[in-house]
Subunit: 348 residues, 2 copies
């Protein structure tokens, strides 16, 4: 038999703006190559000019400054393996269904980011006691349906998170310059938070003495649950996904490796439990060496004794002994789906 | 703003065998380019050797023969615009859900096929009165879960369909040689039937005097409904799909063009009706000039008066005044889903 090139592509959710997710059931490796890195945009891609290679930092700092790209890459850097997940990942699973991009399970990536810790720059410029939040403005902008004017993508972080030693001004992904579509030349990387916090195409950083308000912070990226008060989307929830086999696939009566990933933005993954009998019994999966910000790979062998239909479930457990819930927190905009992962298979 | 290349890819359902569907909500044109032509395979791709450029025709014919590729392309040819649709297209919409590839709506294509009418060859070789069916064997083969031996992809047609003047031995798609992954060098094309009938990588044609039985005809590609007897999958059902806007998208309060396609394997498309009020009232869409075997494009302008959530539905009507049903015929293997097409949109 000849070899023909067979490889999956990103799955398109919308073209303008370009939103595409990973064909996650084929993501075996620990590091997501650029071609399978999900794309989540609010606007068209910004132009790249000389201005993009300069980063202004101003506001409540003693010495406001503009750093050139070359200056930034000469500061001591940090390299971290980090999961980025869109807060709308798995949105299509909510019942009742919610509006917005109908992400399946692939709006997630794991990659190696290199950059300067933001705190290095803020301390250098002299952060003042008035500092309460840090605002990040991107070069991308456009109209949003609910507003009639052009807006830029802007979000803030609380000062504590901005000063966390692992919050980076990143300029490399997997050992290469950032890809154009993922924030080149400079992107904020906020480990443990959902991806909207990791502002791409960084233009300006402003330290402020109050709470920032803007459409991507007080309208979007807010949980609106049914019976509790709205609250902002911040860190990633404890979660897991079964990568193989595929949902509703027909498999042979043989020994199968059931495998997947687990991750969290709070604490660390301690274990993953898998059920083959509708949740009556749970088996510990083998979990691969863990890193703080990356996902954990897990797998378990399964030899079904009888032909028939099965539900396979995976449940991540974190270092605080919390488990993925049976039901997600339903919210109007469909963020943070993290119920126990389930697939159906038929053994023939 | 700079131009960056933005284009959708095929959406992968499985890699081995390679099954991928069109990102159909972006299919605007009448002719599906090869890169968006859905792929549906049962096995890995066959090798292409000298043997593939020869087509045996034997069985109940007076003068069995083997035609070379060069001989075949020198017969008078026919060029037809034809919809090919996988019989599992829209399988993921069945409730209760069924096993198998979870196709959304993109396992469909419309292209321009050129080839020799099969009847030209059969009449030339002298079809005998004993002829009841014609069997088509492909070069691709492999194991299937329910059997423990290697099988080839083989299917038959009733003699009447085999002798239909538009049943082709095709060697061109959209004016080019057939793509490798779609049957190169020779493929059967059966207009109006679901895609499984259009056997790829044709190896051998055998005229027989009985009903052919094989796994792709008496096990797969059979409707197993709940309360009626099983019956074979043959012609495409009356169907329509809304191409834009996207399901669960958020759109502006403005005038929108709602557009889609409609097709059938029995008769022709006469019209398409669209509802914006949960099926209470139906509006005639504009339907584009029709061709017998191709899909019909349709569109309708819509100006929602109020913000809110809407269900948009499309219903194709055929030349026999039949309409798409409210509910599909549920069947165990999930073939022929053709209920009225529905999407949800939110106007903001």
């Amino acid at each position: 038999m000849y070899f023909y090139q067979i490889k999956p592509h990103l799955t398109t959710r919308s073209l303008f703006p370009e939103n595409q997710e990973s064909p996650i059931h084929f993501l075996r490796a620990g590091i997501t190559p650029v071609r399978y890195f999900y794309k989540r945009n609010h606007f068209s891609y910004p132009a790249i000019t000389n201005e993009n290679f300069h980063l202004q930092i101003n506001g409540k700092v003693t010495n406001p400054n503009t750093f050139s790209f070359n200056e930034l890459i000469n500061f001591p850097s940090k390299t971290l393996d980090i999961v980025l997940e869109c807060s709308g990942n798995k949105r299509s699973k909510f019942e009742p269904k919610v509006y917005g991009e109908q992400w399946a399970q692939g709006a997630i990536s794991r990659g190696r980011w290199r950059g300067v810790p933001l705190r290095t720059l803020l301390y250098l410029l002299g952060i003042t006691k008035l500092a309460k939040e840090v605002v990040f403005e991107s070069f991308d902008n456009g109209k949003i349906p609910s507003m009639n004017k052009e807006v830029s993508f802007i979000r803030s972080l609380p000062i504590e998170k901005a000063l966390h030693p692992d919050t980076l001004i990143a300029y490399e992904y997997n050992g290469m310059p950032l890809p154009f579509k993922h924030g080149f030349p400079l992107r904020l990387i906020v480990p443990q938070w959902y991806g909207m916090a990791s502002v791409k195409w960084l233009k300006r950083i402003t330290v402020i003495d109050h709470n920032y308000e803007g459409p991507f912070q007080t309208d979007d990226y807010v949980y609106y649950p049914k019976e509790i008060e709205p609250f902002p989307v911040t860190s990633m929830k404890l979660n897991s996904t079964i990568l193989q086999p595929l949902d509703f696939s027909i498999i042979e009566k043989a020994t199968h490796t059931i495998s997947g990933i687990a991750w969290t933005g709070e604490g660390e993954i301690k274990g993953v439990q898998v059920s083959f009998d509708n949740g009556i019994s749970w088996n510990d999966a083998i979990v691969y060496p863990k890193q703080k910000y990356a996902w954990t790979n897990w797998s378990i062998e399964w030899s079904p004794i009888e032909k028939g239909e099965y539900v396979i479930q995976s449940k991540a457990i974190d270092s605080n002994d919390r488990a993925q819930p049976d039901e997600p927190l339903w919210n109007k905009k469909g963020y943070g789906y993290n119920a126990i992962s389930k697939i159906n298979v038929k053994v023939e």
